[in-house]
């Protein structure tokens, strides 16, 4: 659920320029890779549904840990892949900022945070599946790890940038940010479990959607008996 929930003008201008530039470079590289044709058709369809689900869930505050929202970026990364997952993070953040949920000036930083969640979740899931893990523990672990990567990146961005108007010395700010990162890790568990169930369901009804068709085929009995 990592997301920098601060208003406009909270970060100094140099930080806005820095995170926006890195975000633009990341998205440009992703668009270039997509145009080179490294996307499967079914991923595009899933990306559409993933964007809708992620955007809707992004705006719903659930009554756990005092009131938090989920992102589903881990889920999106696993089903749509790292490239489309990062683009979905950008789209969701643009729409959210347009509605006032998240500052427009922090679009670059928030896109980096959410894109990192999708990218890490995707590669963690692939790695665990190659290690012959079951679908549920692999997807739940991957989503949780992806979200934790986003939480740590969010913390790093805030600490590096500093917060305008905050009287806290850098050390105290770091401890406060560590608390926010810690809370995000707790939320990652909830989102990880939810992602695990969704991916397990998808793998049972449409294994091709999560690139598990080959694995299922290999495990399927041939039906030939002695």
């Amino acid at each position: 659920m990592a997301h920098i929930h601060l208003g406009e003008g909270t970060f100094p201008v140099w930080a806005l320029i820095l995170w926006t530039t890195i975000g633009v470079v990341l998205i440009s590289a992703i668009v270039y890779r997509i145009r080179k044709g490294s996307i499967k058709t079914h991923q595009i369809a899933l990306a559409g549904i993933g964007a809708a689900a992620s955007f809707a869930v992004f705006q719903l505050n659930i009554p756990v840990w005092g009131g938090i929202h989920m992102n589903l970026t881990g889920l999106v990364g696993i089903i749509a892949g790292p490239l489309l997952g990062a683009l979905i993070a950008l789209v969701v953040n643009i729409f959210s900022a347009a509605l006032g949920h998240g500052a427009v000036g922090l679009l670059g930083a928030n896109t980096l945070v959410n894109a990192s969640e999708a990218i890490v979740a995707y590669y963690a899931f692939k790695t665990l599946m190659r290690m012959d893990w079951d679908v549920f523990p692999a997807s739940a672990s991957a989503a949780t790890l992806g979200l934790s990567a986003g939480a740590f990146l969010m913390g790093a961005i805030i600490i590096i940038s500093g917060v305008n108007g905050s009287a806290l010395p850098r050390g105290d700010l770091t401890i406060a940010v560590a608390g926010l990162v810690g809370l995000n890790l707790g939320v990652a568990v909830i989102e990880g479990i939810l992602t695990g169930f969704i991916i397990q369901f998808l793998a049972s009804v449409r294994p091709d959607l999560v690139d598990l068709a080959d694995r299922d085929t290999q495990e399927e009995p041939t039906g030939v008996t002695a």
Binding site: G48, I49, Q59, G66, A167, L180, G186
Partner: protein
């Protein structure tokens, strides 16, 4: 890999993250909505506080800036457009096999 190792690893990860979550919850103001918690923690620093971890009485609500800013119709419209687009893409791909010029798969 053996199943007990997989689930053991997963439970270990969850236990560590839940412990970190609980520490973060108490250290950053207790039972507060995330945006308020974030603003207070970054302005005033760590302040120990408690409260219930789950409060079903609060219900599931739309994010404050949208709800209080009178943007509910816009929110609903964007969700509707994205859902329609997503389902439309899914049906198109499922029925016609993709966006390129190749033959659709034989069913």
């Amino acid at each position: 890999m053996q199943r007990w190792k997989q689930y053991g690893g997963l439970l270990g990860l969850f236990a560590a993250f839940l412990a970190a979550g609980y520490w973060g919850f108490t250290a950053t103001g207790g039972a507060l909505p995330y945006a308020k918690r974030s603003a207070k923690a970054l302005q005033r620093g760590v302040q120990e506080s408690g409260g219930s971890l789950v409060d079903f009485g609060r219900g599931i609500v739309v994010a404050g800036p949208i709800r209080k800013g009178g943007m509910m119709i816009e929110f609903g419209a964007i969700v509707l457009v994205l859902v329609t687009l997503g389902i439309g893409l899914y049906i198109y791909v499922d029925r016609y096999g993709g966006f390129d010029d190749r033959e659709p798969p034989v069913s």
